[in-house]
């Protein structure tokens, strides 16, 4: 669509690790995770994570399906991915009801084949009829969502027996999780191939790809086939979630999946997008719904969810605008390191939520398998005033805890000191080959910090901490 995004991708030269588009999804993920855990600690239980996996997997897989074609460029935002999921769902249920599809193998083969066949048709139309992909997907959206209602006029039917207990989500390790992991691993393996490089090249500049000899038709068909496979898997996960057929529910996945994809930092103009980002985007959407469900707004619940979806979507899109600035100053941003660092924080929040609430007798009742159940029955609505301060609750420590805090204070201060010193040492070393004042300034500040710490901790005392000796 626009040239601006692709240009800004390529502008600054950078290391392979640097991928600042993940900055927003990762930050949002941990923010939401912390909120969710504080609001409802039962999220981090076997059942909580299990139900999260069950509910979020169709969305994640739908986002993957969308991602594969969006990377292919030409503004291929496949609006028909939701109806396609619904189509596989309803035909699966009807065929199963007719006694045709029984074994798991047949069901999987059927779902993937239907998804791939539809996307193959899509690709052929885009290539040979040469209509804009968005038109094809719009056409597919209308046609399939109409067809779904014809095949199954109202929700009903039963999923195969072996699939029925998948949707309970009582434990983390369900077959649905296996599907999710395999799909993610499959995409990661796929990114290592030359085919993926061609795909990205085609997505960011189709003409350049064509002139440099990339078989763009084959690549486009391949991208659509992969998307179709993911859509088939998403349909299976969706069927497992609702354990029946639903002609209109699947259609809603289109808008959510597009939102998730954008939240995950992919570019709708093509050429950029990754499995990690898409995964985080989808999980973020799930967490938003979850957090809002815990607030229990009653009759206006779905409106608040809409408002939050829209606002977060727009804000995260606007945040991608400042990424070029971040990129300029943060040459070696590593998403992995950032993720690990924030996970430590999140882990501490989880530990706090899980154990402190229990020790203070405020344990929230165990939430059920489904988050909507959790909102409507289990959690009591909270006061209006409490909404604003609840996530930042103030602890009421007893004697023993105060003593522990006093004992822990030096350790924390020591760690902080170490971090500050490491930063300044790093600056001093990295600047040492230049003829500037920077290393000297760094060393001086370092010395001042150490001196300050020494003065603060031991006013008039003789035994200096071993750190300062090492630093000087």
């Amino acid at each position: 669509m626009s040239e601006a995004t692709t240009v800004s991708d390529a502008a600054p030269s950078q290391g392979g690790r640097s991928y600042p588009f993940l900055l927003v999804p990762i930050s949002l993920f941990f923010l939401l995770l912390g909120l969710a855990v504080l609001r409802s600690p039962s999220l981090i239980t076997s059942a909580g994570i299990g139900s999260a996996v069950i509910v979020a997997t169709p969305l994640i897989l739908a986002t993957y399906a969308l991602m594969a074609v969006v990377i292919a460029g030409r503004g291929t935002v496949d609006l028909s991915v939701g109806p396609l999921i619904g189509f596989v769902n309803v035909t699966l249920i009807q065929l199963h009801g007719a006694g045709v599809l029984e074994s798991p193998l047949a069901v999987f083969a059927y779902a993937i084949a239907v998804g791939a066949a539809y996307q193959l048709l899509f690709a052929l139309i885009v290539i040979y009829v040469r209509v804009q992909p968005i038109i094809v997907s719009l056409s597919g959206y209308l046609a399939l969502s109409g067809l779904n209602l014809v095949i199954l006029p109202r929700p009903g039917g039963v999923a195969p027996q072996w699939m029925a207990d998948w949707g309970l989500g009582t434990s983390i390790f369900s077959p649905v999780l296996l599907i999710l992991v395999l799909a993610s691993l499959g995409w990661m393996l796929f990114t290592q191939t030359a085919f993926f490089t061609h795909l990205r090249l085609m997505g960011s500049d189709e003409r350049a790809a064509y002139t440099s000899g990339v078989p763009i038709f084959v690549v486009r068909i391949g991208a659509h086939l992969i998307s179709g496979c993911f859509a088939g898997l998403a349909a299976i996960a969706f069927t497992a979630l609702i354990s029946s057929g639903d002609p209109s529910q699947g259609t809603t996945y289109t808008l959510i999946a597009v939102t998730a994809l954008v939240l995950g930092g992919a570019s709708l103009a093509g050429g950029r997008g990754g499995v990690f980002g898409s995964f985080l985007g989808a999980i973020n959407l799930y967490l938003i719904t979850f957090v809002l469900a815990t607030f229990n707004f009653g009759a206006v619940q779905s409106f608040v969810t809409n408002l939050a979806y829209g606002t977060i979507l727009v804000v995260s899109l606007l945040l991608t605008l400042i990424i070029p600035f971040i990129q300029r100053h943060l040459r070696n941003f590593s998403p992995l390191l950032y993720f690990v660092a924030l996970s430590v924080v999140a882990l501490s929040v989880i530990l706090h939520a899980t154990f402190d609430y229990q020790s203070q007798g405020q344990v929230q009742p165990e939430t059920g398998a489904d988050q909507t159940v959790a909102s409507s029955q289990m959690l009591t609505p909270i006061d209006r005033e409490q909404i604003y301060v609840a996530p930042l609750e103030v602890a009421a420590p007893n004697q023993q805890e105060s003593a522990m805090r006093a004992a822990a204070a030096p350790v924390i201060l020591f760690i902080l000191l170490m971090v500050v010193m490491a930063v300044f040492l790093r600056v001093a070393f990295s600047q040492s080959d230049r003829r500037s004042l920077a290393p000297v300034v760094a060393v001086v500040i370092l010395a001042l910090v150490v001196l300050g710490a020494y003065m603060m901790r031991h006013p008039g005392s003789q035994n200096a901490p071993p750190v300062s000796v090492e630093a000087e």
Partner: protein
């Protein structure tokens, strides 16, 4: 797009056209009196017939005046015809096959009306591929008009009451709603953007207007307020999506979600009914948009007249004013438009503001039509406005098309849907056929060039 060269015809051709037009008009007037319609209606339709015919005569003939017949050497005659009309021939054979299969499969399918319908379909395909080729520009409009007249005549033959005044009035009414809603989408598409917040603003305006009226705000003030808020939301849309033009689709979707959620929260605070607002709609608003509305004594709802006015202003404005030409200039090439000091930001935001205004207007009018506020009233417009723009022939990449095209698209969609209802299809089948038909309609004229020609 440039202004087409004014077609100049010889004097005799002009006179013949005028005479034929007058004869047609007289026939129409005689029929009108014979059927006992009101006088102002007859006068109006007589003027309309004459004007439309004379314009069509001059315009269509003018297209061929400058066309010199080309005789180039090539393969044999049959082969050349095959190469030139390959898609049309394939289409012909496909339609014939479908007809054959249907006649064999369905009892009583093979009757005189269906055969005539088949002939009309075939002639549409032939005409669009042969005659349509002669048009240098506005080809999509020609094809659209062909499809429209074909669909209408098939419907009039096969369905009882399809061509009745009542049905035409209701088709025009719904077309007016869709047409007003698509104004913004067209203008935004001319710049290469998309506005998916239209259905949400329609729903929000619908609910919000009734809410304001039920609060005791005078209705005229409430309408003005709602329209102003619509413009404000459009400006917000434009400002937010300006730097994110490639992702305008998703930005506007996000703001749409937020708007519809926010309005519902506002209107349902303190009530037990989530999302439903109750109140009475003032009479003039109902008259504006209801089926039995009256415009200056004539028996059609004023919203159709309003739509007609909008069409007039927009088509003339976009063609002959500097603002319209600048809009096309921006849509075709941003860089060169910037070189001649056209502010991209100004136009982008203005178009989104207009889009918000017309969405809010549609929402208000729909309130007059239905008499009750409902947030989901705009939902069908999410893809219908897009479909109308695309079927009409406005490129989503910007710079090509215009509101006149969208009007044709709106009419085609409306006639098609009322045709499908007429032959007794359920909503879901309608949607299915809609989806399947958009593709070939677009493929008729909006194909992008092969990549090897773009290098």
């Amino acid at each position: 797009m440039m202004l087409p060269p004014t077609p100049s015809l010889s004097l005799s051709a002009n006179i013949i056209g005028l005479v034929v037009g007058i004869i047609l008009t007289v026939i129409g007037v005689v029929f009108g009196f014979a059927q006992g319609t009101s006088v102002q209606f007859i006068i109006l339709s007589a003027i309309a017939t004459l004007a439309a015919f004379v314009w069509g005569w001059r315009y269509v003939l003018g297209q061929f005046v400058s066309q010199a017949p080309q005789t180039d050497e090539g393969p044999s005659e049959i082969r050349r015809v095959w190469l030139q009309f390959r898609p049309a021939l394939i289409g012909l054979v496909a339609i014939l096959l479908v007809f054959l299969v249907l006649s064999l499969a369905i009892e009583n399918f093979f009757n005189i009306w269906n055969v005539i319908s088949l002939l009309i379909l075939l002639s549409i395909v032939v005409l669009t591929r042969t005659l349509g080729r002669q048009f240098q520009e506005n080809r999509s409009a020609f094809i659209g008009v062909m499809v429209l007249s074909g669909l209408f005549s098939i419907g009039a033959m096969n369905i009882e009451g399809f061509a009745s005044t009542m049905n035409i009035k209701s088709m025009l009414l719904f077309a007016a709603f869709l047409g007003i809603a698509s104004v913004g989408q067209t203008l935004v598409a001319l710049l290469g953007g998309l506005d998916l917040s239209i259905p949400f603003i329609i729903g929000a305006a619908n609910v919000g207007l009734l809410y304001l009226i039920s609060l005791g705000v005078p209705p005229w003030l409430a309408v003005i307020l709602v329209l102003t808020i619509g413009v404000a939301l459009g400006v917000i849309n434009g400002l937010l999506s300006y730097r994110l033009q490639g992702q305008a689709l998703i930005v506007t979707l996000g703001t749409g979600f937020a708007i519809s959620g926010g309005v519902q929260i506002l209107t349902s605070i303190g009530t037990a009914y989530g999302g439903n607002v109750f109140g009475t709609v003032p009479g003039w608003l109902s008259n504006l948009a209801a089926m039995n509305g009256v415009t200056f004594g004539m028996p059609f709802p004023p919203v159709i007249a309003i739509w007609g006015l909008i069409i007039l202003i927009l088509t003339i404005g976009m063609r002959y004013t500097v603002y319209g030409r600048y809009l096309y200039a921006l849509g075709v090439n941003r860089t060169s438009a910037k070189r001649v000091m056209i502010s991209e930001l100004k136009y982008w935001v203005t178009m989104y503001a207009i889009s918000g205004f017309f969405a809010a207007l549609t929402g208000s009018l729909l309130l007059g039509w239905s008499g009750g506020g409902f947030i989901g009233v705009g939902d069908q417009y999410l893809f219908l406005t897009l479909a109308a723009v695309v079927v009409g022939g406005t490129s989503l990449l910007g710079g090509q098309g215009g509101y006149g095209f969208t009007v044709i698209g709106v009419l085609v969609l409306q006639v098609l849907s009322s045709f499908l209802i007429g032959i007794g299809l359920e909503f879901e089948w309608q949607q299915f056929i809609f989806g399947l038909l958009i593709l070939p309609m677009v493929a008729l004229y909006a194909r992008s060039p092969h990549i090897r020609t773009q290098i």
